[in-house]
């Protein structure tokens, strides 16, 4: 009963990368585009990058747009909040869609659904229209979830942190790159084609819109959901059971670890989004730099994602080799705490060069914390991986909305006070990581419970009836592959032999 019947045809299939029993790659080769693993990686980070470029395409052009549409500071602030709030629920929905339809269809659909919002930004004519297009464009940030889900489906636990960190980080890069791309495109159109300013910004929006649309096509035609094929085919052949939505959803929302990670992600990624929205203004107002310089400083915060978020993911995988899941949790806790401390410090520094220096170090820590978070997420649930990823991702956006509403709206706090207080809030909210406990691996302060195995944890998501029908096969394989999360000590400990067969 315990052994999964292996299909001989499947085992003959050759993959370009070494794979585990689920055919997930156990190595990560950045410069390869081999199907299906590395191709999935490149498709996912590029499309996510495109969505970030679209979502934050407006901020660098605000000086032009605010005059064209007669926006007030309140209008601009509200649009900024709208841009990140749409994704809160979209991310949870996307998680569900990934679990049910697969990341390929889910992400290409969302990208195509939100592309019209970017195209129609070109014809926005009022503050209300501006808010609407930013709101709907922001939904595209839910592709983050499909990115993480896809990486978790393609890459083995040993490299999943790295894969998640790189795809997430390089996607986030779009938020920094857009601060350089959009002004460049705008000035090209303004000077070369000779359009007036109020026309040039509109035409400029077609660039991110077209890029986004093309990436959806690429995902649909070039990508596949899992190493063995697309959901559609796998479901037909019976290799993959088409899961039940309410069960998937139930097992996600009843897993407290998902909620804790949603909260903590709000205080690394949410903070990152908030900073993306306010940092240019901060340097402009407090240190009297010109808008161009402020834009470059703002861009450099986002561009640190090139290495800092992936670094977090890689660090997670690295510590896991020796210390397993406990190592992943400790590193996340420490890095995010330090990030909070640096944020507190950032608001207190009065010199320009000091501020830029602290901001850069702060960006590394806060983005690394994002990468570290998604080194833990793939292990919270196997059945409901998508919804858990969605909840965590959505929590990130909730954090962004909350911090902007509490600290950066109106005149209650000066921007520097807001930044310091945000640092305090980061540290407070990071404390809850202490409450995460995996019975098979342990938590921050407690070791694993004796006799509990990975199978016990992952198979508890399936009912006896479902197990009888063999729906839990993938969770079985995953349990085996995740044994490394015990760390070196745990690996030495006797692995419990196959559970007594239940007939």
């Amino acid at each position: 009963m315990g052994e999964v019947a292996s299909n001989p045809e499947k085992n003959d299939r050759k993959f370009a990368l070494p794979v585990d029993s689920e055919h997930k790659a156990t190595e990560f080769r950045l410069f390869s585009v081999a199907t299906p693993h590395m191709r999935a990686f490149h498709l996912s980070w590029i499309s996510f990058f495109a969505c970030f470029v679209s979502t934050f395409a407006a901020p660098p052009l605000i000086p032009i747009i605010r005059d064209n549409l007669n926006l007030t500071a309140t209008d601009i602030g509200n649009a900024g909040i709208a841009a990140v709030s749409g994704a809160v629920f979209a991310r949870v929905a996307m998680g569900t869609a990934c679990d049910l339809f697969g990341p390929r269809l889910a992400s290409s659909s969302l990208i195509l659904l939100t592309a019209p919002a970017v195209f129609l930004s070109a014809i926005a004519n009022s503050p209300a229209a501006f808010l609407m297009v930013r709101f709907f464009t922001g939904f595209s940030l839910a592709t983050f979830v499909s990115t993480q889900f896809w990486m978790s489906s393609m890459f083995s636990p040993t490299v999943v942190g790295t894969a998640n960190g790189l795809s997430g980080g390089w996607g986030n890069l779009g938020g920094g790159a857009t601060q350089l791309i959009m002004p460049l495109v705008f000035s090209l159109i303004h000077s070369s084609i000779g359009s007036t300013k109020f026309t040039a910004w509109r035409i400029a929006f077609f660039i991110p819109a077209l890029f986004q649309t093309l990436s959806a096509y690429a995902i649909f035609f070039l990508g596949q959901d899992m190493p063995d094929g697309n959901y559609v085919r796998l479901e037909k052949s019976g290799e993959k059971h088409k899961d039940n939505f309410s069960q998937v959803f139930y097992h996600a929302i009843t897993n407290y670890r998902g909620w804790i990670l949603a909260l903590t992600y709000g205080y690394c990624f949410g903070v990152e989004l908030t900073i993306d929205n306010i940092i240019a203004q901060y340097f402009y107002d407090r240190f009297d730099v010109n808008l161009h310089t402020a834009g470059i400083i703002a861009a450099s915060f986002g561009l640190a994602n090139l290495f800092s978020r992936p670094g977090g993911g890689m660090l997670s995988d690295f510590v896991a080799r020796r210390f397993g899941m406990r190592g992943r949790l400790w590193t996340l806790w420490v890095v995010q705490m330090v990030g909070g401390l640096l944020c507190l410090l950032l608001g207190k520094i009065g010199s320009l060069s000091g501020s830029v220096a602290v901001m850069l170090v702060f960006s590394v820590f806060v983005q690394a914390a994002c990468g570290l978070t998604f080194g833990v997420v793939p292990f919270v649930s196997r059945r409901s991986l998508g919804v858990i990823s969605g909840m965590t991702g959505g929590g990130g956006n909730v954090g962004a909305v909350l911090t902007q509403v509490i600290f950066f709206r109106g005149s209650r706090y000066s921007t520097e006070e807001g930044i310091s207080l945000m640092g305090v809030m980061i540290m407070c909210c990071t404390l809850v990581i202490m409450l995460i406990y995996f019975p098979q691996w342990g938590g921050l302060f407690c070791g694993p419970r004796k006799g509990v195995t990975e199978e016990d944890y992952y198979l508890s998501e399936w009912s006896a009836a479902e197990k009888e029908q063999g729906f839990h096969k993938m969770s079985m394989k995953f349990s085996e592959n995740s044994r490394r999360e015990r760390g070196r000590k745990g690996a030495a400990a006797p692995v419990q032999s196959d559970p007594p067969t239940i007939v």
Binding site: A73, S109, P116, K197, F206
Partner: protein, 200 residues
């Protein structure tokens, strides 16, 4: 934020005697500015024009127009268009003042300015305005001003209607591409459905 403003204005007050920092409140209203735009009139950017004339204010007695070297006439935001818009804020320090962002006329001082016609450029946004003129000395510092409105900036204001920037071609292109994206989505679903039927 309020505290920061207080600090800034205190700082400016202290800098009053520092050279290079010209404060608006220190300027005499030595000029009379007349613009063709009437109270409440709505002008269109890219279509209409404003005719301005600048002369000396006869009521201001002690002034030496020998030091007037350059004259500029600017288009300035009325208070109603500055509300909740920090980038158009009025500061007493003219280096940081953002009230007047568009220059209508900029020539060396040559006595009066008679009936200069300015076509409203296409990048002038929709807002309520008045017209102000500054004269500069050799060091390119403002030494006097005049404006079409009163001190409170509540009188004789006019409106300019900016262009939308939209063109028929942009409207059509964005709608067409949007429809294309949505149709592609439908196409994707059709292809997926077909694949699930084909695979037995």
């Amino acid at each position: 934020m309020k505290f920061l403003l207080l600090q800034v204005s205190l700082l400016l007050f202290l800098l009053k005697t520092t050279n290079g920092e010209v404060l608006f409140s220190s300027l005499p209203r030595s000029l009379v500015v007349v613009a063709s735009a009437m109270e409440g009139q709505v002008l269109k950017a890219g279509e209409d024009g404003i005719t301005v004339s600048v002369g000396l204010n006869q009521t201001v007695t002690n002034q030496t127009n020998e030091s007037f070297k350059k004259v500029k006439v600017k288009l300035c935001y009325a208070p109603v268009s500055q509300v909740d818009r920090k980038w158009r804020k009025t500061h007493d320090n003219l280096k940081t003042d953002r009230t007047c962002q568009y220059t209508i006329y900029d020539r060396p001082y040559d006595g009066k300015v008679e009936g200069f016609k300015w076509d409203i450029e296409k990048d002038v946004p929709t807002a309520t305005y008045f017209v102000r003129s500054y004269v500069y000395n050799d060091a390119n510092e403002e030494i006097a001003y005049g404006q079409t409105t009163n001190d409170k900036k509540s009188d004789n204001l006019f409106v300019i209607q900016g262009i939308s920037g939209r063109h028929m071609s942009i409207d059509i292109a964005s709608v067409c591409f949007s429809v294309f994206a949505l149709l592609s989505l439908v196409g994707f679903f059709v292809i997926e459905k077909r694949q699930s039927k084909v695979k037995s």
